[in-house]
Amino acid sequence: MRAASLLGLTLLLAIGEGVEAQGTSTFQASRQAQTEEELRAEVSFGAGTIRVSPLESSHLYRLLVRFDEGVVEPEHSYSDGLLRVGARTIASRRILRRTDGETSVELGLGQTVPTHLKLELGAVQGRLDLGGIPLRSLDLSTGASDTELRVAVPNPIEMSSARIQVGAAAFLASNLGHLRAAEIRVEAGVGDVRLDMGGLLRDDTRVHVSMGLGNVEIRVPRGVGVRLDRSTFLTAVNAPDLVRRGSEYVSPEWDDADRLLRIRLDAAIGNVSITRYDP
């Protein structure tokens, strides 16, 4: 046990040396919204912390990266509505140099231009406040990261689908209903996933959860009709409010509810629970 703890500690020190400290160099980029009809924002970020939030100003976007020079190189390009953002680790120097701090990325997105947002996050602590950003699509993949997704304010426009891929990670999402997505696909590898479906604005929303190994909790406000169609292997499904109807499970208000949530669940090993709460 002791040996394992020591090993773990060494690893932690090696990976996240000086976790509290932030990078010593700064990169800032911002752009005013001009005549763009839409923005495609692609974020690829390996390790550190990331925060995405809406901007109140007339900006199209605003980016602030704090990084260690020689260890990490911020990446930023914008052309014809395509924004690419990232922070690349300069691997060759990584072993030789001590890191002075953690890379942090703060990306603000404007609220005037419809946006396709794609995030590829690795070993990242992420906080994504997407409320108010006009999102046409969302494609989020996280590796070994702790990510929290909040949609406090409804998406001003509707989106056809949102895709969330969670690797070996903890993922917490609140008010996913505010995304106004017709379909939300969540693919979880190994990890804990908690999805709060609060703020549903569409009459009919489909959620497709596929999970390898781990725990998934789906929280649905009372009053929303829920139907569960599951295909599971060694998975305990805990959904006390749902009753069996044919091959599926439905909530008592399914036939009368204004808002419907269809959950399709494919799970291998783990626990899945569907809980209700008063909105």
Partner: protein, 516 residues
């Protein structure tokens, strides 16, 4: 005195017309408020860079790097590293990071390089200041404002005449091009007078409007349609441009030239079509090249999901390997408990000898196989045996190495159980199956950790590599020792190297048997 107010339809019409001609009637107020389109600031130990892109004017890029000042990509001077200029520029950029565009413009406009700089920093600083001033001046210069004087009753007719007579539209385009950059007052469809004694700033554009000028117009006058009557005391500071109009009166009043406007030549339809075709072709080519350049880049970037997938597969492979080895080990324990025990003890008590024998065996395996093939080939009787020898000998070696690995894993597990770990009841940890499981988990654990790290992506590659190396080393060493023990104990039939005074008893819980 005419009324300079605006009436609903008039600005709309003018907007329509001017937009149609590509003048892009910019709102000067907005332009002044947000002359910056984008900003990019880098503050690091080796580079201090500022890039600005303006609504109008050329972009600006000033970089201080390695003692050199680069302005718009060209070297503009040098500076002392750690000196006053670098300090001041660093502090300025540090402030800009937290400002938005209007704030950046204001801050830059107020920035001055430190005084008392030595050469060459002093020259560099002056160049930076000059470039900043240029960029901000260009950016802040508003478009020439266009004011619309109230249109008269003839507005509708004027509009119709423009639409129905394309020549007039093209003349208007040419007139606007000539007057661009000046403040322009536009008069549409109703007579307009500049009374004697009045001085009008800027220029005047009359569209189907009779102009009567007795006073002074500081800029130029353009008239499309209608009549321009110049009084004795009239004065036009610029040119008088006209088309489809009549000029009467005092022509000397015009300080510049009186010129008939040459309408912008009409472009033949075929030319327009050709241009459209070229534009579409260029757009398609751009899109195609974007696709072909973007894709390989995407392939080159390992996505988080791919890493997770590969990592997951690696973990799964490790788990499967573990299960297979455990199965083989349990089968050996069940069917050949004595042989297993003898081999395991040989590995334990004669570790050094086992390792040496294993090493020698590994090196000699291939020559032995080859020798066997040759030896069997030269004898007639041997040929059918050779057919079996060729595949079976390597299989036997691999099986011996696998069994060896399992033996060492059992020994490892037993060593671990003897450490009195928490979470295992004493009777449980003495079970050979449990010991075997623990030992195998330790041996292949490094590969599992490497798999989990792989899920984290490329940035954990170093640690992943480390664990893979540890795993390979551990299994290789264990395999060699075990292989040696198998050979040394002749497959568990010879207990000479298994420790002295030890007797195996069938059915004993502890495969260690009795050690008197």
């Amino acid at each position: 005195m005419p009324d300079f107010g605006t009436r609903g339809r008039v600005p709309l019409l003018v907007l329509f017309l001017l937009a149609a001609f590509g003048f892009g009637l910019a709102n000067p107020a907005a332009a002044q408020e947000r002359p910056l389109v984008s900003s990019e600031v880098t503050v690091s130990g080796t580079e201090l860079a500022l890039s600005l892109e303006f609504v109008r004017g050329d972009p600006l890029r000033v970089v201080l790097r390695d003692g050199r000042v680069l302005i718009d990509g060209d070297e503009a001077g040098r500076y002392t590293r750690g000196g006053a200029l670098e300090g001041a520029w660093r502090s300025l950029l540090g402030e800009l990071v937290s400002l938005d565009e209007p704030g950046i413009v204001t801050r830059l406009a107020g920035w001055r390089a430190p005084t008392g700089l030595d050469e060459p920093a002093s020259t560099s600083a002056a160049r930076i200041e000059a470039r900043l001033a240029d960029a901000l001046r260009d950016a802040a210069a508003p478009d020439a404002p266009i004011r619309v004087i109230e249109g008269g009753t003839g507005l509708q007719e004027a509009f119709e005449s423009l639409v129905l007579q394309p020549e007039r539209l093209r003349s208007l385009t040419a007139a606007m091009a000539s007057l661009r950059g000046e403040e322009i007052a536009v008069r549409i469809g109703e007579p307009f007078t500049v009374p004697e004694g009045e001085t009008r700033p800027g220029s005047l554009l009359a569209l189907d409007a009779d102009l009567h000028i007795e006073g002074e117009v500081e800029g130029s006058v353009a008239a499309i349609g209608g009549t321009v009557l110049l009084g004795e005391g009239a004065r036009i500071g610029g040119d008088l441009l006209w088309a489809f109009a009549t000029i009467e009166g005092n022509r000397d009043a015009v300080a510049g030239a009186i010129t008939e406007i040459s309408p912008v030549p009409a472009r033949p339809e075929s030319e327009l079509r050709e241009e459209l075709r070229r534009e579409i072709q260029a757009a398609v080519e751009t899109a195609t090249s974007a696709v072909s350049t973007v894709r390989p880049e995407r392939r080159a970037t390992p996505s988080a999901l791919r890493s997770i997938g590969r990592g997951f597969v690696r973990v799964l492979q490790t788990v499967l390997t573990f299960l297979v080895l455990l199965g083989i080990g349990l089968a050996l324990l069940y069917f050949f408990p004595r042989h297993f025990e003898v081999m395991a003890r040989t590995a334990r008590h004669s570790t050094g000898s086992s390792a040496l024998v294993g090493l020698a065996g590994a090196f000699l395996a291939f020559p032995a196989w080859l020798f066997g093939v040759v030896a069997l080939a030269v004898t007639i009787v041997g040929i059918p045996i050779m057919v079996l020898w060729i595949p079976l000998f390597p299989l036997a070696v691999a099986a011996a190495a696998t069994v060896g690995l399992i033996l060492v894993a059992r020994n490892l597990g037993r060593w671990f159980a003897d450490r009195d770990p928490e979470g295992f009841a004493p009777e449980e940890r003495q079970r050979p199956a449990v010991q075997l499981g623990i030992g195998l988990a330790v041996l292949v654990g490094a590969f599992a950790v490497a798999g989990v790290l792989q899920m984290g992506g490329a940035w954990l590659g170093m640690f992943r590599g480390l664990f893979v190396a540890i795993g390979i080393l551990a299994t290789a060493v264990a395999g060699l020792i075990g292989f040696g023990a198998v050979l040394l104990s002749r497959g568990g039939r010879d207990a000479r190297y298994a420790g002295s005074g030890w007797v195996f008893r069938e059915g004993e819980g502890d495969p260690g048997g009795v050690e008197p």
